[in-house]
């Protein structure tokens, strides 16, 4: 996922690894990525913002 990229609704945006399992985080709607807040390998907490993007349509 990169800044400026367009994501379709329901595509896989992130993969989190928890309890030995890959958890896929899907994009809630169509839009353009404005900011990615995490790096690959980061440990994330409940409620953390992973990315911001502007929805289109």
């Amino acid at each position: 996922m990169q800044v400026g990229a367009t994501v379709e609704a329901k595509t896989q945006a992130f993969v989190l690894d928890a309890m030995k399992m890959d958890t896929y985080i899907y994009a809630p709607h169509h839009g353009t990525v404005q900011e990615v807040c995490v790096q690959v390998g980061d440990t994330v907490q409940v409620g953390m913002v992973l990315a911001r993007y502007r929805s289109e349509g």
Partner: protein, 372 residues
Amino acid sequence: MDALWTSTGLANMSWRELAMICIACLLLWLAIRKQFEPLLLVPIGFGALMANLPLSGLMAEGGPGETGGLFHYLFYGVKLEIFPPLIFLGLGALTDFGPLLSNPKTFFLGAAAQVGVFGTFLAASAMGFTPQEAASIGIIGGADGPTSIYLTMKLAPHLLGAIAVSAYSYMALVPLIQPPIMRLLTTQKERAIRMEAGAEVPTWVRIIFPIGVTIVAALIVPAATSLIGLLMFGNLLRECGVTERLTRSAQNELINLITIILGLCVGVTMSGDTFLRAETIKILVLGCVAFALSTAGGLLLGKIMARMPGSPVNPLIGAAGVSAVPMAARVAHNVAQETDPHNYLLMHAMGPNVAGVIGTAVAAGGLLALLK
């Protein structure tokens, strides 16, 4: 020449041993090729293989001036009930009770999923097993290997091989056994319920929890103290923050070493004359029933909780009450995502999942108190 031939294992091989070697190879194949609980089924399968090679004398008792077989001695760890509690020590150090503590009502789901233990206990009694045997079979429904081994050694040691194989095989089959039951017992709407993230659990709660559970469990079910006590001790090591070296040992070397030896020992009990019986088939069938009943028990309480006021509960997490950590929690998560890919149940399901471990150990303690 004749003497040489009769001293070989080949001349002493019976059909039972041959059949058991095939079963041992089947277990190894399931573990290696299909990755069914490989960390357990590889040692169990290899132990079973060695136990059925004639004249090896692995379990020989020895006598005055004569050394017994290797496994005669290693098996003392199982016979004297040392290994299962040590595994629990490692499990405690590996388990994060945070999801349970941030949503304590999920504890009841872990308790409800013990329905299969008692239901199967009654069913097995009705099928002609003694109460002690029936209890050991029922505990398979708790989906917890060390507890099953512990209880079986105390109540019905002759069934150890069959019960351990049944417990560990069904744990590997959780992703196949549970989803149909989960889809059958819940509605689309229930499966789509989203849960709220729980509050962060402060350190002092995480430290008080293992101490409190040990005291309460030991006072109510004294027979479960060696299991619950060591589970909670392992957890205290993890949470207290000042015993990092001990925690690392418990999480890695200790639990791995004991798993290797316990697995081999369980495998070695699978000799032809104890395993190749009609009872083994009955135990395998009853074990599956136990798993299904426990899954249903957790789901049904989950459905009731979903209807109660308060923070929303997705009934699917009830199915994770059958310990089998963390596999059952993953199954709940995956089944929920079939309905709504934006629903993330994994950490919510860990609450009942770890509660199930405590629930099963308490159930085992209760059965022990009743039947010993």
